[in-house]
Amino acid sequence: MTTLTGLFGVRPDGLAAKRLAHAVRADGGELAEGTDPLGARWMIAVQPGRSAGADRDTAHRAEDPSGLRGFLVGRLFDRSADDGIPSSAQVGRWLSRPRDLPARVWGRYAGAVVNAESELMLLRDPLGLATCYHAPCEDGIAFSTRTVSLVELLGSRPAFDWEFIASFILQQHFPTERTSLSGISQLPPGGLLRAHPAAPGRLIAESLWNPVDTVRQPTVPHPEEVADTLRRCSAAWIAGSRTVALDLSGGLDSSAIAWAVRLALGPERHLAARTLYHSELGAADERRYAAAMADSVQAELRFIDAAQASPLDPAVRPARRWDCVTMHAAELRMIELLTDGIDADAALVSGGGGDQVFQTRGSGPPHLAAHLRARGLLAGAREVLGESRTTGQPLLPLARAALRELREDGPRRLARRTAPPPGVRFPTPAWLAGPREPLRLTLPDGIEHLPTAKREQVVGIAYWAGGVDRDHRPGGKPVIYPMLSQPLVEIALRTPAHLLVDHARDRIPLRDAMDPVLPRVVATRRVKSEYAGLYQCAVRRNFGQLRDLLLDGQGVREGLVDSRLLLEDLRRTALGGRPDPGWPLIGLIAAETWCRAWR
């Protein structure tokens, strides 16, 4: 992955500047630098990544006649052209007005530019697929798209942020400006940070794009528009790749991506699909759906038995210094096998994010309220009855909850609402002895004024985009998530809540779009697989290693974890005695693996 790193407002002869200059020389990177009117130095460097393939990141140098200088790295697609990858000159011009950037391009990117007034601007793509970290350095700031590069600039690793790590255990990849290292912050998705030479350490936060504004422009999408957007976005991401490797579960999202990718590839290029199953757990077996889809798009399909290749296997392995604590740290073996036998230059694609973008079932009253509001009392009541019959929830309490939600989502109440939107969190495990209340989520301005169903959609997208696999596959290649393409996300956000989910169907716009093109067995599938057993079997398989990792871990030493209760939970999970995967436990395993890599 190409890395963008820089300094602003630092001493010209300071250690940080020398370190960055040395790193650029050693890696053969590019550098833009200068001195501000007060004599402080700024440097923006791009260091090339090692990943191969047509889908690798590009660095766009911004050099504008007005004096703007800097870089934008990642993958950018021109909204106005079907196959358009904008030129560096174009990007340079657009960066002079960064607020217009999301209207012109979409993709995965982060940028840093200094304008004619010597003002620094840091920016991150609207969905947060790229990352951008920053920390105080000397009298100014240091920034980078990789934490490891930032720490090298700072000269030493800051302490672990245990408050953040406890929140990660409870909420996984929650949207926040904090990171797992104290003092290192990150730009929120769609964020723009400005720093002025007069006060280089004082950062002014602005927003490039706010999903709430998109939600407020409701439109009803046509199925062809959804299918065409998905096709065009997938084609843009994989343009030029000879081979595409796809995680294919045979569910709606990954099957839709398989269809779109095959259209983009044409019949000649290779589509390699991998499907994970567990030979001893019936609930985690989706092979028949995946086989039907692979057959339909002529993909080479390989099944991977998780009984032989469980996540957490081996639980303790040499780990790279990932940017932040991530659940992928607990799934390395599984991730490795998903790319087994795949060319190094293949584009890696996943259907992840579709559940959040187009929304799966399960929100209940918020969607019922949306139906009641949009379709009237009679149709809404039919929806409540259908929901009750489908899910087995008692009718009267469900109807009461829907009406309460309808009242809460009334325009006048929404205008006055100040309560924070609900987060996604797991019940606090008994063994968590540290902070038991998670950190507040950083969410777009005005989200509290959206109806609950749309708030859930915005929060869900932020969660999923925060946890995408950026560099855990072999070779450190970021995985492509076409469902998290900006044009597609905007269609979903603009779709009214009652048109996304009803009592019989979820992800309705995507389902309608894909209905004519997917095999019947996939299109009519109504159940999702259950992977809790797969994780529990993995805990059992690696019980000894995990016990050592956790009980000798930083969490116990820092007093974050009660070791006796933790061991009890670990045993219960290993013996398959719980109904869920035990996500907080897997989160702790990921956190300890991450801490070990950074020790």
Partner: protein
């Protein structure tokens, strides 16, 4: 039994001695009458009879180990690998002698009061197992969803509702054991025939009745109410309670003519049966 041993379930001494609590068998609010660890228990002198599950304890072999339902405490428990193997050996043995290794492995099971000397010679038995390993899709809808198009009329729906509310209260106040006792007592009423269409229609009736009930849908309550209604209507059905591990899941359902009335058709094959009330075809 390599086929139903979960991945990596090679003998793992780290987990051998465990008896792990999986949670309550019902929504019983009363405190458990029997503590999980009552202290040292002597398996008894030779001649006290072979070890068998204590009264009120049901056991099954699932996912490569033993799952126990302790009705006295209203809890499900899973046993570690060595303890599971030892239990499997002793319940299948006719005699009362125990090898030292088996005695050591059984210690946590005896301490939990799950096995006791039978007091007299007892026939060996094999722990029940699922016919198909792998368990069920636990996320699938839990409602019965009968195939019958028509449900019974309002009087039948209201009767079903009364039964559901009654079973729910019984399970909440006195636990799963009380619910099973009530089923056992009602079973003594005469039944006439097992007509599947009638059973399916009754499922549809209860499906409607559930819409009128407060509280979450629970398979124990649904199946108990359905079985009571069936027996009172003269339809021969049986109630089964099955369990799985990886992930843990317990479900009660009603069978008519050997197949589940409503719900997935392979339910009975994929869960290990812990309890059966009613005639066995």
């Amino acid at each position: 039994m390599a086929a139903d041993r979960p991945s990596g379930a090679e003998p793992d001494s780290d987990l051998d001695g465990d008896v792990v609590d999986c949670g309550p068998a019902s929504l019983w609010t009363a405190p458990p009458a029997v503590p999980l660890d009552p202290g040292p228990v002597d398996p008894g002198p030779a001649g006290a009879g072979p070890l068998r599950p204590t009264e009120g304890v049901r056991m099954a072999w699932v996912g490569g180990g033993v799952v126990a339902l302790d009705l006295r405490r209203d809890r499900y428990l899973v046993l570690g690998p060595a303890a599971s193997r030892a239990v499997r050996v002793v319940v299948a043995a006719a005699g009362s002698g125990l090898a030292d290794a088996t005695r050591a492995a059984l210690e946590p099971v005896l301490r939990a009061g799950l096995l006791a000397p039978s007091g007299q010679p007892a026939a060996p038995f094999r722990l029940p197992e699922p016919r198909e390993p792998g368990g069920v899709m636990t996320r699938s809808p839990m409602v019965y969803s009968g195939r019958a198009v028509t449900a019974g009329g309002p009087i039948r729906v209201m009767r079903a509702r009364r039964l559901i509310v009654g079973c729910d209260r019984l399970a909440r106040e006195r636990g799963l054991a009380a619910l099973l006792s009530r089923l056992q007592a009602t079973l003594e009423a005469p039944v006439r025939e097992a007509i599947r269409a009638h059973a399916e229609r009754l499922v549809a009736t209860h499906d409607r009745a559930w819409l009128l009930v407060g509280g979450p849908h629970r398979s124990e309550v649904a199946a108990a109410a359905l079985a009571l209604d069936a027996w009172r209507s003269g339809i021969a059905v049986r109630v089964r309670l099955g369990v799985q591990r990886y992930p843990f899941h317990a479900r009660m359902w009603v069978e008519c003519e050997g197949r589940p009335a409503g719900g997935p058709p392979d339910l009975g094959d994929r869960l290990a049966p812990l309890v059966t009330v009613g005639s066995v075809e």
